[in-house]
Symmetry: C2
Subunit: 114 residues, 2 copies
């Protein structure tokens, strides 16, 4: 029972979460909605993806969580630590490397003999 955004998704939820939190502190439910917006509807991630990513990043020290009661409901706001920021930068570089490698492969003229 996986798959809706087909392939090409590994590492992407984490990258997007870090990207959003690099701009401002946000809470989980908000991130779920924001992902759609910032990716021009290309990518949609459910809560079952976002929350585990958030918890994992927090546990590893990349995020800091702050609980805030708002209108009787509780929101958990996350923000980047410095560790999170460097992780974001590393992943961004990695993404650039990989995606441009693939771009080369896809756009290269036919055969490149080994």
């Amino acid at each position: 029972m996986a798959q809706t955004n087909p392939p090409f998704m590994s590492g992407v939820p984490e990258l997007l979460v870090l990207r959003l939190l690099a701009g401002q502190e946000m809470y989980g439910y908000e991130i779920v909605r924001a992902v759609k917006l910032v990716t021009d509807e290309a990518i949609s991630l459910g809560e079952g993806v976002i929350y585990p990513v958030l918890h994992g990043l927090e546990k590893s020290g990349a995020l800091r969580a702050k609980r805030k009661p708002v209108n009787g409901r509780t929101r958990v706001y996350y923000s980047l630590t410095s560790k999170g920021r460097s992780r974001f930068e590393r992943l961004t570089r990695e993404w650039d490397r990989v995606s441009s490698g693939i771009h080369s492969a896809l756009s290269g003229r036919e055969h490149a003999k080994a």
Copy 2:
């Protein structure tokens, strides 16, 4: 024991294999070497990745295999079927969609309020 090319790799081996075979027929070991070349060294896939992909694609009808003895050794050449070609096109479109969504997210100016 996963990870060397870290994240962002899901679906990529299959895409690259299809891409290479769209240009010419090739055998497994050759594909392993070619991947490095066509991705400008950005991506390197071992035999433990390539061969299973090849077998899976063959089983699903995307590839056709032809055994050829060469210098006493046996090579298994693979080529794309029409099913494989349309799969390649579909995956390419999907890759473009996803990668440009991510690009939007990464390059967008800060906050985009939900």
